[in-house]
Symmetry: C2
Subunit: 287 residues, 2 copies
């Protein structure tokens, strides 16, 4: 597996493959890899001739006081996992290679960035102002650097997936954004690099998110169509654990994330977010 550290270097590799008629898949990650990431690599390898994974802890998607500094980093371990999973190339730039002289403060006025609009201002965008601006900007850079035909993202970050599909469609990136199913622990907890922050007590309490979603799905299967009722039941599950501080439990339109009064007309998605101990976790499911 070749390792590239600059946008120019990974682009040359990708353009070379494209010129040979090979299709290129990109799996963007922030490292601290787990089985969820590897499932994206497998999906990319099944759908593309060559697979590039990127590992970059992107400062512009972290807010002040968030975990940018302590976010787990172990490039050597990540590289080993990616190589074993069949990646052809790893793009692992440092902050300077990505953001250069313009710096990483997107609102400083010193640099160009991508703004995503209202879809990035609700839910995670409301809890983390500027988060999706940072995500969209770095993914635009990664797509422009690695020039993939397809890019793979997990449904775990469901709102992120929608924001990126919208960006790619509206700016005409000409890249297929592929959303891949959430990978879960046996007890239902969605895999996340941030699960590593949890103490064993918190780890146990964290299953509240999955249990809340299951409660919502079960009510829906039982014929409940009032979102308010489902949301209240999900919130109750989140509230039950003493280590869990719920942020939101919502049932919304699966494309626009707009509120739904009743279910049945359009596809719906249940979204939950909560802080467990000091760790903010999110999860979601189709209804």
């Amino acid at each position: 597996m070749q390792v590239y550290e600059t946008p120019g270097a990974v682009r040359r590799a990708s353009e070379g493959w494209r010129a040979e008629g090979l299709s290129v898949g990109l799996v963007p990650t922030m490292g601290a890899l787990h089985e969820g990431h590897l499932s994206l690599v497998e999906r990319a390898a099944a759908g593309c001739d060559r697979v590039v994974a990127s590992v970059f802890v992107n400062p512009t998607q972290f807010g002040a006081g968030e975990d940018f500094e302590r976010y787990p980093r172990d490039l050597k371990r990540d590289a080993g996992m990616l190589s074993a999973a069949g990646c052809d190339a790893l793009f692992a730039p440092d902050v300077g290679a990505m953001y250069g002289a313009g710096g990483t403060d997107l609102l400083s006025g010193e640099r160009t960035f991508v703004e995503v609009g209202r879809l990035g201002e609700v839910f995670e965008g409301a809890a983390r102002p500027g988060h999706f601006r940072g995500v969209a900007t770095v993914v635009a850079m990664l797509l422009l650097a690695a020039r993939p035909h397809r890019a793979y993202f997990g449904e775990k970050d469901y709102q992120q997936l929608l924001v990126l599909k919208k960006m790619v469609r509206e700016l005409h990136f000409g890249v297929e954004v592929v959303g891949c199913p959430i990978v879960r622990e046996p007890d239902g907890l969605a895999l996340s690099s941030r699960n590593a922050y949890l103490s064993s007590e918190e780890r146990e309490a964290a299953t509240a998110l999955f249990r809340a979603l299951e409660t919502g799905r079960s009510l829906y299967r039982d014929g409940v169509r009032k979102t308010e009722e489902i949301e209240a039941a999900m919130m109750e599950v989140l509230r039950a654990g003493s280590l869990v501080r719920p942020d939101y439990a919502a049932v919304v339109d699966a494309e626009s994330l707009a509120p739904l009064e009743r279910l049945g007309e359009s596809e719906a998605r249940a979204l939950v977010a909560a802080t467990v101990g000091r760790t903010r976790l999110i999860d979601n499911a189709a209804l």
Copy 2:
């Protein structure tokens, strides 16, 4: 010359050429072509194996009350000129093909756009709020659709050229942005599609912009180094004509457009803007 009306269609053509190892040049225009545009096409043809020109009057770079509606449009004439000048393809989308369901109000919250920061807020950005946001967004779309190796822009819109170079560099487009010299009428007036708005009296008065720049250059050649003195002299030339309402006459850093107190340390550019009758005109020159 092939004509394409959707981003997907022009991308397929360009990707086909790239796969054959051919280099692709893009000349983005708003139509109403003149010799200035054709000089860009010639430059592109000299530097690239294939040349794509785009004709798209981009609504998002016009402000309320500006000339979007009456901006001259004659695609048949433009296509004839481009074909004669050696273009291989014309990309001529309509507004729906470019902006789709998200609409053309960049601040509505309904769509993704590219924000360019402080460099887009001074001079033309101050006179036309949101102008460079619209320019950057549409050029990002055009570069993503036409996938050129190089893109050609006139130095007449000098600030636009700097904004686009910055966007392309900071987001890692991997495209070479080539700035091309201003083409002028025999009396010095910079070619512009908006010159067509001028009455014969206004047309004569419009040479004030070029004469102001020449005054600035001549003072510099004579050894004047205080920008204040040069700016005052340029402004005086603009003010002399009764049909001319000056907006600005400035001598600034040629890369950052930052104010300069004295000349000589970094490259400088003189910028002028004025409204002649009802038509806003801009011009610039290296000092």
